[in-house]
Symmetry: none
Subunit: 154 residues, 2 copies
Amino acid sequence: MARLSDMIEEFIKALLEESNGQLELQRNELADYFECAPSQINYVLATRFSLDRGYYIESRRGGGGYIRIIRLDMDSNDYIMYLLKERIGNRISQQAAEDIIHHMLDKGIITERESLIMKAAIQDKGIGIPTSLKDNVRASIMKAMLTTILKLRN
Amino acid sequence: MARLSDMIEEFIKALLEESNGQLELQRNELADYFECAPSQINYVLATRFSLDRGYYIESRRGGGGYIRIIRLDMDSNDYIMYLLKERIGNRISQQAAEDIIHHMLDKGIITERESLIMKAAIQDKGIGIPTSLKDNVRASIMKAMLTTILKLRN
DNA sequence: GGTTATTGACTTTCTTTGACTTTCATTTTT
DNA sequence: AAAAATGAAAGTCAAAGAAAGTCAATAACC
């Protein structure tokens, strides 16, 4: 039972592929095409095309409005440095960490197997301690793994 | 009069047979089919399709949700099963964990890169919390990663 | 009597929808 | 020409819907 959101995600990714990582679309048009509420498009953008997943969104309202989706393309080493120095502080949610791992896989920094091992390591369920500390422990683990990956690349 | 749980177990096993050891199902659908409470399905999964018995379960909630059941190849994975069931309890030292990872690398179960990522994830330094809990957290993480690897080797 | 099954109420997670708001461009009034 | 009205977008947020999870109470079976 394919989810609508997944179909829209695939559709947008195919368009991005064709158009070299950047595209503009009309929210209502797309909603019409998929016969859904316009706000469904926002949901897909928020959950599947977030910054952590490596996309940047710009838009404009009013007549002639649009939504522009940009696939970010940073050098992999720079990206990992950015994650270590800026993105991950001393706490990070499971969702955000998963999105980052997803993105690293997308960029070919890690293999699929590696991505699954990493996701296992940062799971709430995996980290068996008080919720208040989970995000902190997760941040530490994530940074330790990223540091290792960075080393591997140099 | 065979017990309901046994019937459901048989049913799922037959499906697994047909589908080469991996299948996806809808909890409510199956519960409807057997005219039982949905939570009965969870009971069957917990008691008959546990990791101990060689199955791995994944699921997702919400619209388009599912339950995925994966039959693991117990024979070729007996070392990992041993680790999960016997060797690693609810605590493990960094040294012991590293030894295990090293051994898995030696046996060709994981790649060198994977071994380094795993070691990063279970380092004392990686896990930034009170020493008293470190060994417990490490055990959880280790088991989560091993479980994932089990699935990968299927 | 103790273990194993079954059920149901409640919770959590993820998705979809719709009502309402904001922003911008164009057209109409004054 | 400036101001006001209109219409055409996109944004927000909360409610409804669609699954699966949890847990404790009861029931059934050795």
